[in-house]
């Protein structure tokens, strides 16, 4: 069948409520991203000087971590969706291991971010230091909270998957959690070049 004639899925994967959350989060972060970009124009030198105090390497490692953890979750969902009656136990165990790996990467992300925050706080940098750090701390701390919630969600998904709580025909909960984690990844994909690289 030609590609353009393929029938599209009527609804996106996961629970519909997660998509409402996704759209709201995209809007909220979008406003902050735009606010950062336009505020930068008002005091370009201050933004460029303040940006030098950030650790680009940690930002980069965190990017690799989030992309890889998102990939691991895709693998977990694929494993469950492709399971058969004969291999359902094995598929659940493998999927739970992918989820555990994704969760561990999420924890490493949080630890690296905490190191970055504590380094800045040691230098006396706070939300009120200047507009750059106000936006930087607001964006990254808000994102940090989302990753923290994501790790809790992944912990629960891991447990339920390990206990064979999802099957090929009933994995909506798993898909819902996965969409949340991909959202966190998508937000970081924009945040990283905007705050750490563009100058």
């Amino acid at each position: 069948m030609p590609k353009y004639l393929t029938i599209k899925e009527p609804y996106p994967p996961g629970d519909f409520a997660i998509w409402i959350i996704v759209y709201v989060e995209l809007l909220t972060f979008g406003l902050l991203f735009a606010g950062y970009a336009f505020s930068r124009r008002i005091n370009l030198q201050m933004f460029n000087d303040s940006q030098l105090l950030l650790n680009q390497s940690i930002g980069f490692i965190n990017t690799l971590i989030l992309i890889s953890s998102s990939f691991f979750i895709v693998k977990a969902v694929q494993k469950i969706k492709n399971e058969t009656n004969e291999n359902s136990y094995k598929s659940s165990i493998i999927a739970s291991k992918w989820l555990l790996s994704a969760m561990l990467l999420g924890i490493i992300f949080l630890m690296l971010k905490l190191t970055e925050f504590s380094h800045l706080f040691e230098q006396g940098i706070t939300l009120s230091t200047n507009t750059f750090f106000m936006f930087y701390l607001l964006l990254t701390m808000f994102h940090f909270m989302h990753v923290s919630l994501g790790v809790i969600i992944l912990f629960n998904l891991h447990h339920k998957t390990k206990a064979q709580g999802y099957s090929q025909n009933d994995c909506r909960g798993l898909e819902t959690g996965a969409i949340y984690w991909h959202l966190v990844d998508l937000l970081w994909i924009v945040l990283f070049p905007l705050v750490y690289i563009i100058r």
Partner: protein
């Protein structure tokens, strides 16, 4: 087609390395920011299509995150290329 997630993952990693090297080697210039924005769009769209699995979903659902990505990156680009406000 079977290993599409793996391919997407590798492309995302490579584009991230590219972005990091631009910053690390201090190669970010007016032109390079445009390239960086385009590579960010590509990364975001790959996540939307293949990780969020919206590629095979009706356009009305797929278009919202894609439009968000275009709008945000457009805002960032406009803010970058507009003349700097002098205090």
């Amino acid at each position: 087609m079977k290993k599409i997630a793996e391919r997407v993952w590798i492309v995302l990693i490579l584009l991230s390395i590219f972005a990091f090297l631009l910053g690390y080697l201090k190669l970010v210039s007016t032109f390079v920011v445009g390239v960086l924005v385009l590579s960010t769009f590509l990364k975001g769209q790959l996540i939307i299509d293949y990780f969020m699995d919206l590629k095979e979903v009706r356009l009305k659902y797929r278009i919202i995150p894609t439009l968000w990505l275009i709008l945000i990156l457009l805002c960032i680009t406009i803010a970058y290329y507009l003349p700097v406000v002098k205090n």
